[in-house]
Amino acid sequence: MSLFEDLKLNVEQGKKEAVLALVAQALDQGHSAQQILQQGLIAAMDIVGAKMEQEEMFIPEVLRAAKTMEAGLEILKPLLGVGDMQVSGKVVMGTVKGDLHDIGKNLVAMLLSSAGFEVIDLGINVAPAVFAQKAEATGADFLGMSALLTTTMPMMAATIEELEKAGLRGRVRVLIGGAPVTQAYADQIGADGYASDAGAAIKVAKELGAVKA
């Protein structure tokens, strides 16, 4: 097995020690940090993403792979140039005002981050104005909202209004999800994307990113 094949397999299997050793070995052999990142770590996460979609990998396995990938990336970071770290997009996300449920939102945040998005997680009970303010301050490409309760869902619409007021609606794509949320609701309030689960959220974010580009 080639060094890169070995590296990808170990990222996929979440073997952190092996990945750290292989990244060091690749650098010793004269591969550039950029090459190791692209052909090793990111290529591995592409495989992981595909396997998740095929229902071959389970969420805890995907998260472990993502953590392993991040550990490898830590070694490379000092060696990478400014343009080498391509980010798929910047996402500000949180659970809407009045709602304290964050398991699903956290899962989406972790998976987005492992898929190359920069995630700014605002936590729970986030007011519409706070969403808008943070989206503006960070120059976010996406705004992600989660709600578990029918009673807090209307905060999603209120947040979109807030974005409009702040003149951000043109550049920030809004993604929503949560148990009672549906595509119909997303259409109704004018959200750009809806995802039924964490895996789908990554796919939707990537598609919307591509549309924008």
Binding site: P60, L107, T150, A179, P180, D197
Partner: protein, 456 residues
Amino acid sequence: MRFREIKKIHEAGLRILERTGVVFQDGETLSLFAQHGHQVDGQRVRMPADKVQAAIESAPASFVLHAREPRQNLEFGARLVVAATGGAAFVLEGTTLRVGQLTDLVALAKVMHQSAQVDMLGFSVEPQDIPLEKRSRWALHTLLTLSDKPLTFPGFSPDLLEAATGTAEILWGASWHEKPRLLSVLNSTSPLVFEAETCRSLVILARLGQPVCVTPCVMGGATGPATMAGILALQHAETIAGLVLTQLANAGNPYIYGGTSSITSMLTGDLLVGVPQYWAMMAATVEIAHYLKLPCRAGGGLTDSHLPDMQAGIETAMGLATVARSGVDFVLHGTGIMSSFNAVSLEKFIIDDELVGMIRARNLPIVVDRETLAADVVDTVGPGGNFLLEAHTAAHCRDYERPTFFNRRRHDVWLSRGGWDLATAARERFRQLVEAYQAPEIDALIVRQLTNFCLQ
């Protein structure tokens, strides 16, 4: 489970309460724990095992919930009590999911009132066409005027609590809380957190002497361990934590040990309710509660299906039959719930109602005595004879007869009567019941006061 395993789970739960502790996000609640000698560290409360044990012993093994009509009163801890769907956001009509409306709740209340199987009313669907600040009041108005059965409601928010106590005062007067009349079901936020509103509601309701049920819904692998024993121990710790708080607020207050934890799909992160592990944990939940001599809420007619189809039927029947066999005291979401906890299906409501009837009939003991053994009749008829003409047969021919809309006819007869599938037959039955509904008696003045309360 064997006795030894039940005991081990109980001890593991006590250990969680003592070592890890539980977060209560409310100041008054934290002071209450501190005053009674629990170890309070920030919002984290660690509970000594002897104090927990004392709280368990102070909660009654049974209690009576009083209805508007005394004939409808219910004893918890004595027999199976079934409540219909509680708090679905959507109505499933055919394959279409739409938001619930007040007209849906009205139709469901009429059907619940007539059902011989649904013992109590629940907030079966969220009437989302009513503004949020008025929703609880109108829902209570609808349920309590269209039926005289007792009520269970989700008591977790101040507006719900205010609506329920206000309604109770109109119905029963200022001293309404001298008897248990409102059964509230609340949830801990797994793992090991009680949100501020939940804490406050528990304390207020306990001080009013009203029964409460804390039902943790641990999602194995996400908000709890991935293993069944680990899920049960965590669930145990959380529902016992709720019990301890209610007993501190009002020693001897009725409490129902709740649990509706299940495993999580490790592919999507969704809670799974139509799975064997859930049914097994429903039974275990009842066993643990009864080991502590507490009434228990577990199980329900739950399914991951999105249609009243065979999957829904299998999953619902497995869940309900399991808890009924285990001797569960209280089942919420007994009829009509669909798409996990998300929707109510009118057809499934009727089908589940029938299922509950079947399960109750199945669980009746087989009476074995001289009359039912019928040895003399067998001797009289003798080999090769028939029993249809016997007086004994005539005397017992209606024993097991139950009206049903399930098909019991031959294929050609069934076909000539429309050849309906079960969902179609159920839809027709629902329509008939709504049409046949007759309102129970209620003082017109009370209705007017309730209406004014809603309009305020």
